[in-house]
């Protein structure tokens, strides 16, 4: 049922926003329909055409809501006249929906919540659980965002050509944040909670199918999938994080990795490199290595150099230093960390990396100081456990 909801919710919302011209109202109607499905389907079974069932229900809910508000008479007529369509009869407007939800005039957290709710069909409590924030907080974010869409007239359409690159970047940033929130999950989550990382992967797949000519969309899709393929090997039975080097590679999802290399092939033939594609290449180089020793570090280092050329950042330089370590040597890598010290002093992974390098250089006392500093700076229980084990 979750899969049906995910597939249909966005389509319905998009179609209703299109016909009603009111984001808030459309969104409410779809949520009403989903709630109604939750009541009926477990007892009566999923109908043969769930999309049409939900559409009819959403429309009926819409008519009820509009009757209560007289100033929508015209819209009401539209809703009553339109034929009950089967899935193929209403066009897929989800792309417009995605760009509206990720409009830069909305706050980042509102973009994330709105996309999960409107495009992926998550309920407010589900979003709240996924982000470990109170339901009221999510509800308020959604209300505010929807009000702004209506009040400021955020349009329900794709951006103009000259805006597209920037706006697509915004959409990808929202999906990447969603993915990381799930992938780096820090708190306890219930078995029934929807996994943000997989929602994000589904959404980027949807985006890739709707915009097949955009290499950065494929790049982000590949990046997420390479990471998800290794998900089962990332934690031990006690929930402690296992570093890439020590992971049991038999637990990696080989089929998913192979499928993802087909995506890499697609974006490479487009020959329009970008940051997500380069990060996917790095993740792919790790995924392709049968053992830690077989990792092709020179390839990884080249990708980091290309990434730096596109956008210089201390975090990229930190990650690049690890590639330098395994390609050139620990001494050179340690030298390259120095200029980052000031900017990354409050970043735990800077000190954790420094600790590893110092250990490799045979300076265990300084290494322990660095590990202790890293421990001070992180609250993630899985990472804390790893650092504590290292400190002994």
């Amino acid at each position: 049922m979750a899969a049906v909801f995910r597939e249909e919710a966005g389509r319905l919302t998009a179609a209703l926003v299109r016909s009603l011209g009111n984001f808030d109202l459309a969104e409410e109607c779809v949520q009403d329909a989903l709630v109604s499905a939750l009541e009926h389907w477990p007892r009566e079974g999923i109908p043969p055409n769930p999309g049409a069932w939900l559409m009819t229900t959403a429309r009926r809910k819409g008519i009820d809501r509009l009757r209560r508000e007289s100033r929508y008479q015209e819209k009401l007529a539209q809703l009553e006249e339109a034929p009950v369509s089967t899935r193929s009869a209403f066009p897929d407007d989800r792309l417009d929906l995605i760009f509206t939800c990720c409009h830069p005039a909305l706050a980042r957290e509102a973009q994330v919540a709105l996309t999960l709710r409107s495009v992926a069909g998550l309920t407010t409590p589900e979003i709240a659980r996924a982000f470990l924030v109170p339901e009221a907080t999510v509800a308020q974010r959604l209300v505010r965002a929807k009000r702004k869409i209506v009040d400021a007239r955020i349009p329900f359409r794709m951006p103009e050509r000259e805006e597209l690159a920037e706006r697509l970047g915004e959409v990808l940033a929202v999906l990447y944040l969603m993915f990381n929130e799930g992938y780096l999950a820090t708190g306890p989550r219930g078995a029934h909670d929807r996994d943000l990382a997989r929602e994000a992967e589904w959404l980027v797949g949807l985006l890739a199918s709707l915009m097949p000519g955009e290499p950065e969309v494929l790049g982000l899709q590949a990046l997420m999938r390479f990471n998800l393929a290794r998900a089962d090997a990332r934690f031990d039975a006690q929930g402690r994080m296992i570093l890439l080097r020590d992971q049991d590679r038999a637990k990696w999802d080989r089929r998913m990795i192979d499928e993802t290399f087909a995506i890499v092939g697609r974006f490479l033939t487009m020959a329009r490199p970008g940051p997500y594609q380069l990060q996917a290449l790095i993740a792919g180089a790790h995924a392709a290595a049968k053992t830690w020793e077989a990792t092709r570090w020179p390839d990884i280092l080249r990708s980091y150099d290309a990434l730096l050329a596109l956008s210089d950042s201390p975090i990229i330089r930190l990650n690049r230093a690890i590639a330098v370590w395994h390609t050139i040597g620990a001494e050179q890598a340690y030298v390259e960390l120095f200029p980052l010290a000031e900017q990354l002093d409050r970043y735990h992974l800077f000190h954790a990396t420094r600790g590893e390098l110092l250990r490799a250089l045979g300076r265990p006392d300084e290494a322990r100081d660095a590990d202790r500093r890293a421990l001070e700076l992180t609250e993630n229980p899985a990472e804390r456990a790893l650092l504590q084990a290292r400190l002994g």
Partner: protein
Amino acid sequence: MAQYVLMFVGSEEWLQTSSKEEVQRGYAAVGKWWEELSKKGVLKGGEELAKGAGAATTVRRVNGQMKVFDGPFIESKEQVGGFAMIEAPDLDEAIAIAKSWPGGDVEVRPIVVH
């Protein structure tokens, strides 16, 4: 069509630090922007505001009484230096117009229709 107010925000530092020619060029660019939008019928009104936080007077309600204070509502280096009322079909169009402003930052606010 919806109406928006564009509020032009900036600091006056550039007035003091720029040469006379630079200031003139800045005003010329603004004049051209204004003229083009008026011709297109997009611009519905707007004005430049007198320079300097010192030109501003704020009337505040204090314990139910309206009291007069010297200075702007919010003390900041950045101040609203002018505004324009424009007509645009949606926020994206309004943002496109704001992006074409040759001066500093722009706050875009929709006007409520009663």
